[in-house]
Amino acid sequence: MDFKFTEEQKKRKTEYDGFFKALMKDAPPEFETGGMEASFGSDEGFEFFRDTQKKLGEMGWLTMAWPKEYGGLAATNVEQLLFNMSAEEHEAPGVEAIGVNIFAPGVIMFGSEEQKQRLLPPIARGEVVYCQGWSEPDAGSDLANLSTTAVREGDHYIVNGQKIWTTAGHRADCMYLLARTDPDSSRSKGLSAFHLDMNTPGIEVRPLYYMDKSHIFNEVFLKDVKIPVENRIGEEGQGWMVTYASMTTERSGFFLFTQCQKALNRVIDYVKKTKRNGGYLSKDPVIRQKIARIYTDLQGGKMLGYRIATIQDEKGIEALPMHLPSESKVFGTELQYELFSLATEIMGMYGAVEGVTHAPLKGMLEGFQFVPALTIAMGSNEVQRNIIAWTGLKQPRCKMTPLPAR
């Protein structure tokens, strides 16, 4: 039993910290409040995001998780965790999820040699930004219900349909598309995965403004969009399997806990120097209790994350009990709710003020408002709880009985 980091790990973390610290010195003001709005909202923010991606690509760090044969560093999961931790601690963008961590594993596992040669290097260099074209208005938690079609016509597929919740769809160069290629199929059968150039005619991206008007999500309408056959990843009908490749990445959900740690540090700092109604907030017994409890839960969450990464490194993804990443995701997102609730609470009335001018703790309110997005996205916490019950507690799968027709 040993919970110390190795010298090697400490060295790497120091290296990452140095890099990100220097990088963020030049960050545009959007990054004061951080979050995805900073990266995708404004042109300046997005330019910084792209630049960062390219720099990380040059260092080889963007794809450190990839196998060496595809230009990766085959970094251990703990190393990746430390890298992501450093990025989060410095609120750096560009350690991007979709192309690197979701699309690329699908290509690596199911793509042809030609596709690997063509598609992977630009991702590795940080030259392309991907968005995820999976969810649809009628296919959220029930993704298998998707109905966007891709009909084969000679050397192309013709795609018609609509995608929703497309993060950075308004900025992306490419889309990782999941569509139905077998018109007689239903649910998860008959789906195929595609690489789609967002410049292809027929694609319309419309913003879906977040509750605070930040522009992160989009709807994407696909009308007679042509995709060359060579851009289909894996076989026709293999699409559902291809999406599973994205589940082989580092699964600790640690970024949630890093965000929590940063927020907690700022909360502790704030209460120690802020007076209200005659006394320091840090002396308020209720605040003291809440901080102590959140501190404890945060340690628990981090250790769960480390445990997941350690199991992946020692025994491989196959040996990782499926319920653990789900537990980490649920716990981390809901801890953020507790933490950002507290953070906004201690600011008193200023806790409800957005932006940077008047709010004493920038970004906390934005973080708070983004929490529901986290509990809903990446597999809603409700579904995750089902998964935990099925895989970790051996409960029978619930049968979703449709309502009787009226």
Binding site: M1, D2, F3, K4, F5, V78, I268, V271, K272, S282, K283, P285, I287, R288, Q289, I291, A292, R293, Y295, T296, D297, Q299, G300, G301, K302, M303, L304, Y306, R307, A309, T310, H323, L324, E327, V330, F331, E382, Q384, R385, N386, I388, A389, W390, G392, L393, K394, Q395, P396, R397, C398, K399
Partner: protein
């Protein structure tokens, strides 16, 4: 990062689990809890023969000098079975105090015997209105020159009814101090309460009890720092027991949900049950992932006050939550004496206050966080 136990620790855990499975089914646990002694002398002897008592003590007294983690493994397994015994009172609370602060004579006399299973001890700390605060001891030890005379009243002295010797927190002129007092001495009355803890919680009254001065442990007046030094490890022991209880409560609830059929399906097929079980499991896995890290920190000699206190507080809360939901998931049968799951719900209530209430322990953690 290495979360693994040594193979010796794995073997230790397996042997404890085997022993308790065979020797202490829940039926026996309930019988023991209902008895006056509140423990099984027969099983205590067996445990001593299996050398559980000496796990962490120095070889000089018959111990094995294993890390504290090993002792916590034993306690965790006991917690899974709700096994009632004076193990924590004797080996952890009193054993650690004597180990850290006893003089050679005291260590030789007491540790050697307790390791052999021939000595049960109890720690008398709490008083009405002063839960776990050595600073404010009302029980007084007056120094008459030749001896000490102790007067006062202690509450929640676990296992005082079966202990031969107690470590008693007293106020002397120098300040808070700890003295060894035999429970059979004149002027002592021991009254067992009906605690949900199944832990022989007793009221102990001292009326003009004579105590030789050589029975002072460590230095008079330094009782507060003495207790503070061992307190995190005491908190870890209670946490280990509760975590064991959490695991069993979850397993029982999950098993019941798989078996109990209503509306044509196991109740575990219903989302409300699945989500509850998932929440119970998340609470357990997060606390458990952190627990042995704190234990490891204690063995490494790192400062664990903040983490041991906060974690004990959190696990108290989570254990209450888990055991409560476990009873509810069982429906009507969960309420019965027969079905055993309620045992954990009852224990969780008692465990909540050991070493300090959650509020008290969170406050200690808040201080350590610099607030």
């Amino acid at each position: 990062m290495d979360f693994s136990f040594t193979s010796d620790q794995d073997m230790l855990r397996d042997s404890i689990a085997e022993f308790l499975k065979k020797e202490s089914p829940f039926e026996l646990v309930k019988e023991i809890q209902d008895s006056d002694e509140g423990y099984s002398a027969k099983l205590w002897k067996k445990m001593a023969r299996l050398e559980w008592m000496g796990v962490c003590f120095p070889e000089a007294y018959g111990g094995f000098e294993d890390p504290y983690v090993s002792l916590l493994i034993i306690i965790e397994e006991m917690g899974k079975r709700m096994f009632p015994s004076p193990f924590v009172s004797t080996i952890v609370q009193c054993g650690l105090m004597i180990l850290e602060y006893g003089n050679e004579k005291q260590k030789k006399a007491l540790l050697t015997k307790m390791i052999k299973g021939k000595l049960i001890m109890a720690m008398a700390l709490c008083e009405d209105g002063h839960d776990y605060q050595p600073d404010t001891f009302g029980t007084v030890a007056e120094d008459t020159g030749e001896k000490l005379v102790v007067n006062g009243e202690k509450t929640f002295v676990c296992d005082a009814n079966i202990a031969r010797t107690m470590i008693v927190g007293v106020r002397m002129e120098e300040g808070p101090s700890w003295v060894l007092v035999d429970t059979g001495d004149e002027g002592i009355t021991v009254e067992k309460m009906k605690s949900l803890g199944g832990d022989n919680a007793c009221l102990v009254r001292f009326k003009d009890v004579s105590v030789p001065k050589e029975n002072i442990i460590g230095t008079a007046g330094r009782g507060r720092e003495m207790y503070d030094r061992i307190m995190p490890r005491l908190a870890l022991a209670e946490t280990a027991k509760m975590l064991g209880g959490c695991k069993s409560a979850i397993d029982m609830a999950a098993a019941y949900a798989r078996e109990r059929v209503q509306y044509g399906v196991p109740i575990g097929a219903q989302q409300s049950i699945q989500h509850r079980l998932a929440d119970m499991r998340i609470a357990y896995d997060t606390c458990m992932s952190y627990f042995y890290k704190v234990a490891w920190m204690a063995d490494e000699g790192l400062d664990v006050v903040k983490d041991a206190c906060a974690l004990k507080a959190r696990v108290s809360e989570q254990f209450n939550f888990i055991s409560y939901q476990a009873v509810r998931i069982h429906g009507g049968v969960g309420l019965t004496h027969e079905f055993n799951v309620a045992m954990f719900f009852r224990y969780a209530k008692a465990a909540e206050f050991k070493i300090g209430s959650p509020a008290y322990l969170y406050e200690k953690a808040a201080q350590e966080l610099g607030l």
